[in-house]
């Protein structure tokens, strides 16, 4: 039954009831440092330099990532691999690899440009520095740890085994 005289009272009451009801809902707040929400699969966070299963670095020091970088955040210097001191398959490896995290815009172009899928934007978003110089991440900080069963670089390898610098690859799935 609609009583026209009561209508404004009902309208006001409905508004107040809506907000009051919300008080008894579970808060959506995530208590961040203690409780972390997993990021989305295609999230672009801090870069990681990948390794092969045997521990060799994927990066061949071609600097295509530095060329693709719109913010000019990446600096690569390459050097020759030898069978006595091998860092990566093929001829060359990155002797210096630095990313300036203050310049990086996390666009992911480096990831796209990389011919060996060596650089990947990971899921770490907790970047903070107290000094501008700390924002430049050297290769040691970017490289992922040696996988189980692999050996750290430089490795001593048998001649003629790692001649191909760009591996066979499939199309990306995600």
């Amino acid at each position: 039954m609609r009583v026209p005289v009561l209508e404004p009272v009902i309208e006001l009451g409905r508004g107040l009831w809506t907000t009051l009801r919300m008080m008894f809902e579970k808060p959506v707040t995530v208590q961040y440092p203690e409780q972390k929400r997993p990021v989305k699969p295609r999230f672009r966070g801090r870069h990681v330099l990948k390794r092969y299963e045997n521990g060799l670095e994927k990066c061949i020091g071609c600097a295509l990532c530095a060329a693709a970088c719109p913010a000019d955040a990446i600096f690569v210097e390459s050097a020759e691999n030898t069978d006595e001191e091998r860092y990566s398959p093929g001829d060359r490896y990155a002797s210096t690899y630095e990313i300036n995290m203050l310049r990086c815009i996390y666009c992911g172009f480096c990831e796209d440009a990389c011919p060996t899928e060596a650089i990947v934007l990971g899921d770490n978003y907790e970047l903070s520095f107290t000094d501008r110089r700390e924002a430049i991440y050297p290769k040691e900080m970017l490289l992922e740890p040696v996988p189980a069963g692999g050996a750290p670089t430089p490795q001593k390898t048998e001649p003629g085994r790692f001649t191909r610098s760009v591996p066979e690859m499939k199309d990306p799935t995600d």
Binding site: P4, P8, L16, T19, M22, K26, V28, T29
Partner: protein, 383 residues
């Protein structure tokens, strides 16, 4: 007036001011938590257990902030304005009683009562102090030498003057019902029935008018962020801002204490607890507790309204004050007086005509507003 008298007032005043200052700090915490819950958030919970140290952290931050003053501000008034704003907020509750006579106690051979001053014109005192509050805000706005601040201050004056009328008239409702302007008499007159029950619409008018008086949402025109930056306190920072903020929240506490005393029986127990152990006649020290509970609930009401209603447009705010609240409260005075006359001349049962007629008048007024708004909507849709 003896020295001992003055000392007693000073001591009581100091205690009450300290309670108000602590109350201000924790009212901000209460408001932030309650608002957060209404918005399905948690609110401050980091500083200390349950975030209870948050107000202290805020205070420390504000104390150590730079005291900034605009170059072409009026230096003296700019400094004085926050103090002038805070002062009425602190002294307004001096006449409110917190416990009945039975809770009085002896100290140094003097009987200590549970109120700071016993004025026989208590209600008039409250009204006069309430209207002083606007000076500080206007001066703060004007002395900042900032057009937004000035506009905020001006809005505040216009708003206060408009709503003061309705506020004063609803004070008269209480005076009529209690037959006294002394707050202790008013509270004792609500022994059997709260005035909020006898005069519900009068209570609502009072609450709405006080919301406008303390510049709370939905009447927070003087500090409408979207229009005026921060309004009258745009140029304030540090402790000066804290004082303005403190004044606003202390006014909320003060107003809620006054509403509790005028309409919700003050320190008296709810009428259905009469003659039980929970009555203040049996256990007088429950008085302050009852006041606290009532103030707490009324404050929640203010927060709840803030979380629900959007700010109303300035011309509508004015129209509502002058065209709705003022005539309505005048009508209520007439109806209340008639009800009291009938109950005295014919039979006491006629006092129930007061809440009935009050509700009918309130409904009609609300409906008038509703219809006029709808008519405007209709006209806009056709144009």
């Amino acid at each position: 007036m003896t020295l001992a008298n003055v000392l007693e007032w000073l001591a009581k005043g100091l205690v009450w001011v300290l309670i108000l200052l602590g109350g201000f700090a924790y009212l901000t915490y209460y408001e932030r938590r309650a608002l957060a819950r209404i918005q399905v958030r948690i609110g401050p919970n980091r500083a200390g257990p349950l975030g209870l140290l948050q107000p202290i952290a805020d205070a420390i931050k504000l104390i150590f902030k730079e005291e900034f003053m605009p170059a072409r501000a009026d230096k003296l008034l700019f400094t004085l304005a926050p103090i002038i704003t805070l002062f009425p907020a602190l002294v307004i509750t001096a006449v409110v009683p917190f416990a009945p006579e039975g809770a009085n106690f002896e100290l140094f051979g003097r009987t200590i009562t549970w109120y700071i001053a016993d004025l026989n014109v208590g209600v008039l005192y409250i009204m006069s102090i309430a209207s002083i509050g606007v000076y500080g805000i206007v001066l703060a706005g004007w002395s900042s030498n900032n057009k937004y601040a000035t506009l905020g201050g001006l809005r505040s004056t216009a708003q206060m003057i408009s709503y003061e009328l309705a506020l004063g008239l609803s004070f008269i409702l209480v005076i009529l019902l209690a037959n006294s302007t002394r707050l202790i008499d008013i509270v004792e007159a609500q022994k059997d029935m709260w005035f909020a029950v006898l005069q519900p619409v009068g209570m609502l008018i009072f609450l709405i008018a006080t919301l406008a008086e303390v510049n709370r949402a939905p009447f927070d025109m003087p500090e409408a962020e979207q229009e005026l930056a921060a309004g009258y306190h745009s140029e304030y920072g540090g402790m000066k801002f804290a004082l303005l903020f403190m004044a606003e929240y202390d006014k909320m506490i003060a107003i809620c204490t006054i509403v509790a005393s005028l309409f919700f029986g003050g320190y008296r127990e709810p009428w259905f607890l009469q003659n039980t152990i929970l009555s203040v006649d049996k256990t007088p020290w429950l008085g302050p507790l009852y006041v606290f509970i009532k103030v707490f609930i009324l404050l929640f009401g203010m927060i709840w309204v803030r979380a629900t209603l959007p700010r109303i447009r300035y011309d509508r705010l004015m129209a509502f004050g002058w065209k709705v609240l003022l005539p309505l409260s005048l009508a209520l005075i007439f109806l209340t007086a008639a009800g009291i006359l009938l109950s005295e001349q014919v039979t006491p049962a006629w006092q129930w005509s007061i809440p009935l007629t009050s509700l009918v008048a309130g409904l009609l007024a609300l409906n008038g507003v509703y219809q006029s708004l709808r008519r405007k909507e209709y006209a806009r849709a056709r144009a």
